[in-house]
């Protein structure tokens, strides 16, 4: 194994593979920064260019590009409150709040350092887990995967808690997200649901325009309403010192970062759940780690742990999602499904061959993830001052630029004007939700999980009828979901009794 690992490194360090990786990193850097223009879309756009490449060069190019989008996507989330990538949305909650508190440098330092830790954990997991992961993936059937989705929703809904009412609102938002995900032709019976005879709605609502709308539009409106820069009138402070503080935060909360990286890796391994889920689960875990209700209230207002969790998870998931892709040909996410197309183009067959005959190619992927992230993080730190100073630019200059990104990003997800209408509509809904005190995070998780959860629920009932509820892992997950819901209520009651 160590020989193959070394051979993988040598292959990636060959000048041609290295040059393609650098090209991929440059592309991925900007794709990540631009909201809406997703890593998966760009992977698909770049696939035709790999025909004439060797496997190692092609994967260095594609993975190098894909591995850094989550890192630079986090930068956009922190600085502008717009998710650079769908998998970077959770970073907004605390990262952007920190930027508005004048701590942009610290937030960026934390998100970059945790991203690097996450990427290394994910890559290590890929290197180590291949021989042992098969039984784990096979234990989870549709009932367990459905319950995993419910646990994720319960996690996020409970985070929105200010007692019972907060929980109601959290679940309201989550269920609304699930309901929105049912728009379009249903996968089982082919019925057009809630389409109102619109051809655009037949395909269902795309995640990117909704994400961009629900997160970016309220932020833009608020930026305009305040009439200041993102950081307001607060002094930005010495950014380099702030960044170092962010790096130190990563090591101060090192075990949290590692745990969130492992959550990301685990979610990445589970086919179909994807990076969007990983970041929210990690954010949920980070917020759950708050010891008191007072401490929990800081989440969303600029707690660095809320940056470290998603920052680590959305990078570690890449290594995780490569595991089922390489080992079983089961893609863990949309991007991995596209990467699987790359395997086919290159004449490689995922499965046992990738773990024996082409083991060095598999390990070259591990090294690509490691090197691409190290290079990106170093480059980001070098230009941190310039990146963080963007929060001091006047709102009147930033707003038109961000709006261009919003509309272009929204339109390019499907090349349809309907996407821009969806962005505006969900932007208005997002603004109303914030105004009414409803949390947006459960809505997004509901939307992300909707199609997957529906599919798993249908298969569970069709295959096991009511007996799916009695499966041991399902029972454990039900208990976890109930505990996650009850715990904040219990905590609030105990606090009230003490007061």
């Amino acid at each position: 194994m160590s020989e193959a690992l070394l051979e993988g490194l040598v292959l990636v360090l060959q000048w041609k593979a290295l040059a393609f990786m650098m090209l991929g990193i440059v592309l991925g850097f900007w794709v990540g920064l631009l909201p809406g223009l997703g890593g998966a879309t760009t992977l698909a756009l770049m696939l035709p260019f790999i025909y004439n490449m060797q496997p190692v060069e092609a994967f260095a190019f594609l993975l190098g590009m894909h591995a850094v989008t989550a890192t630079t996507g986090d930068i956009t989330s922190v600085l502008f409150g717009v998710p650079g990538e769908a998998a970077s949305a959770a970073t907004i909650l605390d990262g952007h709040a920190m930027a508005k508190n004048g701590e942009a440098g610290r937030a960026l330092g934390a998100v970059l350092a945790s991203s690097l830790v996450g990427a290394l954990v994910g890559a290590a997991a890929l290197a180590l887990a291949v021989p042992v992961v098969r039984p784990l993936v096979l234990t989870f059937g549709s009932p367990e995967l459905f319950m995993l989705a419910i646990v994720g929703l319960a996690f996020i809904a409970s985070l929105s808690s200010h007692g019972g009412r907060g929980l109601v609102r959290g679940f309201l938002a989550g269920l609304l997200g699930l309901l929105v995900s049912t728009v379009g032709q249903d996968p089982q019976a082919g019925v057009a649901r809630y389409t109102f005879d619109s051809l655009y709605l037949w395909q269902g609502l795309d995640l990117v325009p909704i994400l961009v709308g629900i997160f970016a539009i309220p932020e833009i409106i608020e930026l305009a309403a305040r009439g200041t820069s993102i950081a307001g009138s607060l002094p930005a402070g010495r950014i380099s010192r702030g960044a170092l503080e962010g790096v130190k935060d990563t090591f101060r909360h090192f075990w949290l970062t590692i745990r969130c990286s492992l959550i990301g890796t685990f979610i990445g391994i589970m086919p179909g759940l994807g990076g969007s889920v990983a970041q929210w689960m990690a954010y949920g875990h980070a917020a759950q780690s708050a010891r008191t209700a007072e401490e929990r209230k800081r989440f969303g207002a600029g707690d660095v742990r809320g940056v470290l969790g998603p920052g680590a998870a959305n990078n570690s998931k890449e290594g995780g999602s490569l595991i089922p892709t390489v080992a079983f040909g089961v893609p863990g996410s949309t991007a991995m499904a596209i990467l699987l197309g790359g395997f086919v183009l290159l004449g490689l067959v995922p499965g046992p061959d990738m773990l024996s005959k082409h083991l060095s190619v598999t390990y070259s992927m591990v090294w690509t993830i490691v090197l691409a992230n190290v290079v990106t993080v170093v480059v980001c730190f070098l230009f941190l001052d310039q990146l963080a100073r963007l929060t001091g630019v006047r709102g009147s200059i930033l707003i038109p630029l961000i709006l261009v990104l919003v509309f272009v990003g929204s339109y390019t997800s499907n090349n349809h004007y309907g996407d821009m209408v969806a962005t505006l509509a969900f932007g208005a809904i997002g603004y109303l939700m914030v105004l009414a005190g409803w949390p947006r995070a459960p809505f997004v998780l509901g939307l992300v999980l909707g199609k997957i959860a529906e599919n798993y629920l249908y298969i569970s009932i069709a295959r096991y009828e009511a007996a799916w509820l009695t499966r041991p892992v399902v029972l454990v997950l039900i208990v976890i979901a109930i505990a996650v819901i009850i715990y904040p209520l219990f905590q609030a009651r105990r606090k009230a009794a003490h007061a």
Binding site: L175, L176, L179, D186, I221, R296, I397, L424
Partner: protein, 155 residues
Amino acid sequence: MHKSAAVGLSISVMLVSGYAVFAATAWPWKAALFPLVIGIPLFCLAATELLWSLLGAEPPSAPNEVELSTDAAARRRVVRVAAWMAGFFVAIALLGFPIAVPLFVFLYLKLQGGEGWVLSIVLTAAVAAAFYGLFDALLHLPFPAGWLWSWLGLA
């Protein structure tokens, strides 16, 4: 403002979920299962939230969300930026992205932002160049001509 938003949102969600459940009853069970499983509790929770909003105290903000400015001056700015967004969308539909993007950036900087001529022109040129270089020349993304050009027979 917060209370009226909470009431309005609750009523809207009740209407949407009520319609969702009603529509689902006409579908085969395979298609109706999930909307019913989601729609019924959503309706009940929205009704609970509505009652809470009407009878209870001013709802607190969600802990993980931004605090919105809601004074009179802020409300005026909100209406203005919403109008700019709607205008940008209409401009994209009528003129197409390549024209609407620089036009919007320039007009916003000059009219709304009150920026100087030099900054407005330089930024507009930079955005136009970045838009053309990245999306058109590099990624070859198809941006259709606006409807106006089609109506005039120029597209």
